[in-house]
Each structure stands twice: as structure tokens, then as C-alpha cells.
Amino acid sequence: MAKDVKPRVKVPKTAAVGDAVTLKTLISHKMESGQRKDKEGNLIPRSIINRFTCDFNGENVIDVTMEPAISTNPYFEFEAVVPEAGEFKFTWYDDDGSVYETAKSIKVG
């Protein structure tokens, strides 16, 4: 289940203090909706990432509750304020209990 899951994020290297930066995230995941059937007509059980969060130095930027209607390889784009140099932490929570994490640091100046 938790195989081949590779998070990718795009964060600018530097920003001015108080600036808004655009963050883009993509994670490879099949996001099985639980609606599809296999060749024998059996329902394929749901297996999705159900939550995504982004924090900067411990403060929350965005917290997304995800449902099966989110496409395969979930993509999110949003904006964050950068009050100081630090690290963005991105976390995805899988239905099967797995947690995928990645972090990117940003400098100010």
C-alpha cells in the first residue's frame, strides 16, 4: 500500500520577510476511490490519502480533508506567509495508517 509513494514539493529558496510564497505539492498515490470494480465485478476497496497538512516552524498553513473525489496523485497549490527563515513541513496521512512526510527549508533576504 505504502509503496511507490513519493512526495514532491516546490518551495522557493528565498523570500522576503512577510512575503507570500506559492507552494506546490504532488504525491504519487493511486487514490483508489472504493467505487471501482475489478474484472470479476468485485468492488476494489477504498485506499486513499485522507488528510494533508502543511506547517511552517510549527505553525499551520493549511489542513486539507481529502475525500475519494480527489484525483490520483493528489496535487495542491496554495500560498503561505514567510515571517522568518525556517522549514516547511508537509505531511500526508494514508487510510492504512501510513504517514508520508517531507520538509523544505526557506531563507529570508
Partner: protein
């Protein structure tokens, strides 16, 4: 127990009534909206929902929601087997209250975005997307 023809007809009629009830009681998405707003009034406007007019592939339809001063935005696809799509909660370090993602749409339908503002009021926006190939497999 022996099932007579009369019993079978009575059972069938009962099943039809039961099946029809939820459809009449609630439009798709009403339940989620009620849970989200707690029954509060929802104003039109103040929310932007960007979605393509025509989506050739329902498996991945790009959408963008934004609402100034929103604390949370919930997105519903009213024609999907399960209407909820996602709920975005914006934290203290969120810059513009906007987010984009890609969603699945089973058929041509309306998408609804409901925003909960920081002052506790609610606003909504809808967009109709024509879907050429549905995105729920099957």
C-alpha cells in the same frame, strides 16, 4: 415461510417507498452542507470557484477555490456518488485564502464551494462542469 404472490407485491411496494424516501427528503450535498454550517444561512458571492466549463477527462479536473477572509472552504461535487471532495482549513500562516487541486467528477454536474468566514458567516459559489468521460471507472 412461503412467499405468496400477494406478499411479494406488498414487499415490492414497500421497498419502493423506502427507496424513494431519502431522495425526496434531501438533495445531494444537503447533509454535508448542514453539517458544515450548522444550519446557518449561506450568502451568495464572496467565494470564487474556478473550474473548466468542459472537462474532457473526469478523472482529473483542475479546480481553484478562494475566498477572502475564509477560515475553511468545503468543496462538494453534487453529481458524484459521494458528494464531498475536500475541505481546506486555512491556518495562521496561510497567505491568500485560496487553493487549487485536481478532482474526479463522475458526470456533468454542479460543483459547490461553501466558505466559512472568520466572522462565522457563510458564503458559497457554484460552477457547472460538463464532463465528457466520467472519472469513477466502473
Amino acid at each position: 415461510m412461503k412467499l405468496t404472490r400477494r406478499d411479494a407485491i406488498a414487499l415490492g411496494a414497500g421497498a419502493v417507498v423506502v427507496a424513494a424516501l431519502p431522495v425526496h427528503a434531501m438533495a445531494p450535498g444537503d447533509e454535508q452542507i448542514a453539517a458544515f454550517t450548522g444550519g446557518a444561512d449561506i450568502a451568495e458571492g464572496g467565494v470564487t470557484l474556478n473550474a473548466p466549463e468542459i472537462a474532457e477527462n473526469g478523472n482529473t479536473v483542475p479546480i481553484e477555490v478562494s475566498a477572502d477572509g475564509a477560515a475553511e472552504i468545503m468543496v462538494l461535487a453534487l453529481g458524484n456518488p459521494t458528494p464531498p471532495v475536500a475541505t481546506f482549513k486555512f491556518g495562521p500562516l496561510s497567505a491568500s485564502r485560496s487553493a487549487s487541486t485536481r478532482i474526479r467528477l463522475a458526470q456533468t454536474q454542479d460543483i459547490l464551494a461553501v466558505a466559512k468566514m472568520e466572522d462565522g458567516s457563510f458564503a458559497k459559489a457554484t460552477a457547472t462542469v460538463k464532463v465528457t468521460i466520467g472519472g469513477c471507472g466502473g
